[in-house]
Symmetry: C3
Subunit: 324 residues, 3 copies
């Protein structure tokens, strides 16, 4: 059974090797620095358009119990770019699952003929269960309203590359901070770096208290507010869509939709160096008016996502890292 990530990084060691990646909380600062360094090396290779053969004998199994386009496609793309192969059942929701198989058995079975499992599941406990029963490492690609660690890493890589630094900034995160799993992973990660954090949401969708406590315990300045104007002087504004599928009550969803919106007017008043980020499909929280601004880095994020996933896959499965 695969273990979570625990060891310390020192010397030439690779902290992800043969390990699952379930939560960003498993990673400390030196490990994240190492992953980002490897991802930057991958990014450079990917830009050349050449395929590597680092994982040429490896097979990644993608088990997606929820729909996904960009996460699934970028994991596929990353595996191909490393020379590896993908196997996947596109209809997990109607196959074994439909025949009543539990996730523990599926993980155990699939892990007997694949080298890594990439799992997206509607249930918060899914990644933990899968990794407990899998004979190979599991990468959590989203578990219910829980975490999505490679998304947090790609957000970080985007900031690092677009701002040329990763500390000493003001980062504003806007929208559904209660249910958004990518936001939770990102907030934990940002807590490791010396940034001021502003969380902008209506009271009902604010960041869970335990994450706030964790951030303050780590010495971060944290502000919780309801007004988007608090993002005007930020270096980074992060505004994911409100995820309809996380709400029990559609009325609650509709009430929040459209409450915050980054548009030309916001950008005129904002710090000229601000960058605008998001993660999922964009609804109307970012106006298409600003799509062609250099500050709008949303469309670049997914490419950093390929690089991060290449780095993570290679660190988990490969014999050597590119960056050393």
């Amino acid at each position: 059974m695969a273990e979570g990530i625990g060891g310390k990084v020192k010397g030439g060691s690779n902290p992800l090797y043969s390990r699952s990646l379930l939560s960003i909380k498993e990673l400390d600062r030196p490990k994240i620095d190492l992953i980002l360094r490897e991802a930057e090396a991958m990014h450079k290779i990917f830009e050349t358009g050449r395929k590597l053969s680092l994982l040429k004998d490896k097979a990644m199994a993608t088990l997606f119990y929820e729909p996904s386009t960009r996460t699934k496609l970028t994991f596929q793309r990353a595996m191909i770019a490393l020379g590896g192969d993908e196997i996947g059942d596109p209809s997990m929701d109607t196959s074994s699952a439909a025949k009543g198989e539990n996730l523990a058995d599926t993980a155990r079975v699939v892990s007997s003929f694949s080298d890594v499992i990439v799992l997206r599941h509607y249930d918060n406990g899914a990644a933990e269960i899968a990794s407990r029963f899998s004979a190979v490492p599991v990468i959590n690609a989203g578990n219910g309203s829980g975490e999505h660690p490679t998304q947090a890493l790609l957000d970080l890589l985007t900031i690092k590359n677009e701002k040329r630094r990763i500390e000493g900034m003001k980062v504003a995160i806007v929208g559904d901070l209660r249910y958004g799993r990518a936001v939770h992973s990102l907030a934990y990660t940002l807590g490791m770096f010396d940034n001021d954090l502003v969380f902008i949401a209506p009271e009902e969708l604010q960041l869970p208290k335990e994450i706030c406590d964790y951030l303050e315990l780590n010495g971060r300045n944290v502000e919780r507010t309801g007004s988007l104007d608090n993002a005007l002087d930020a270096d980074v504004v992060y505004i994911p869509r409100i995820q309809k599928e996380r709400f029990m009550d559609p009325k609650e969803y509709n009430r929040f939709l459209g409450m915050y919106r980054i548009d030309r007017n916001f950008m005129k008043r904002a710090n000229p160096e601000i960058i605008v980020m998001s993660h999922g499909p964009r609804l109307d929280e970012i106006s298409p008016e600003i799509d062609d601004l250099n500050n709008m880095v949303f469309f670049k994020q997914v490419k950093y996502g390929v690089a991060v996933r290449m780095a993570v896959l290679n660190m988990i499965l490969g014999k050597r890292m590119l960056s050393k």
Copy 2:
């Protein structure tokens, strides 16, 4: 952003290189001749059963918002035969699309980590929109009741190979000429070659007037009629299925179903050299009685489809063409 096809073919130039293929109307006669020549070279290679490595570093993204078996499988097969890779989300209709993402964003995002997008969409304007926002070339693999240019090219390649010529013939096209996108693309293409054209359909499903006008403007003899007997002396009879999904009213659909049918009796009375073609799944418009006749080339068309798609993919993405 990728441009449509515009330049002239001369010398060693490749008119498809780095360009989108949205409509057959973008191609003039010399360009089509060139593509067919390249497709014939690909066909010969494919028949040997050997894989090429012309596109070994390239990834094709297939975005299919409508069901498809033969178009999707032949694009996959073509990309594999060229040594390239495919990435695809099999459930576009329930993924990002379901989360509310617009096609412009999806095209922009997916194009940031793939080399070409093959798009099938239920909306007539989709291919145009995708190509406007994509950073890589887009191949239109069917847009609503619009066009399906690689289908027209494979029809042409079939005629050229099975009849050993491409001009000076009588070609009859039968069935739903109003909604059928493959028929529209084929009619435009045939207009570039000196053939007599007979369009056989009930008045309500006849070819749109603007396509007729275009053909006559190009000097073609065009006949519109309701009787299948006008196809008896043709060199080619093309009879696609009536596409249920294009009709708003199921009663209208049922009225036309089974109106025309190529069977043994038709074949006995017809020109002995006639070839029978179609494109989609066959319902009852071609009787299985004639499946084993040499004239029935329907089953060969899909293999020419692989060759045409190999040619188009390689011309768009590759460094060199096979045919020169």
Copy 3:
């Protein structure tokens, strides 16, 4: 058109070469011995984690009209491990099929650009029809309540490897013996080897009489009983899930669910050398209490499944076998 398997094995001949595999009944004892030998060679290679390139120019088309996770994934995995490629339309039930195409046409068309078709279909006659119209070999991966020959072969390989013999044993098969296609294939196969067979099921779900007759005709001791206690002294107990989708009446299904169950109590009373096998997703017919016992070989079976599918694919498509 591809033929069924008929020829005798002698000298260096490969009885599967260029042939379809529709039913385990096409295979006699020497052929099965040969396939198992090849599968054991494949198993050893697969355990090393290295990819072969035996099928590097070959493309397998997977046509699955019914959901499947492990069968589809293991066929994919097997093809990749042999260096080959897969093409597949993940939504066969909503694509050409939905447009009304019959299986004969689909098989004919898809076989024109692929090297082998792997078919799962809800209809018992499907594999036979597909192979009649396909230009390439067809592997039956489950046809309705009919057969699933590679499943029977992997069951056999599991027994051979886990028990170190394949004859002189008592094998108990428990559960839905009437509708279970894997059970039918397995029963036929076991009939070729000198084992005593106990079939445990309620009367309504007992093994069809013609299979019993066939087994007795082949000189096997066959017992039909309703009590699981008859499996206590067996060397192998095989207990597949009750397949809901095979029952017309849900009430009938519910009545049988949970009737037989292998749990710790059973294992305490049973032959200490007994091994526990199954095939599909496990519901509650095997208690998770016994998952970590060495006797519980259910989780190993799927890996033998990859080896068997590698052997079968390579014998059908390849130029040379590993085992000679």
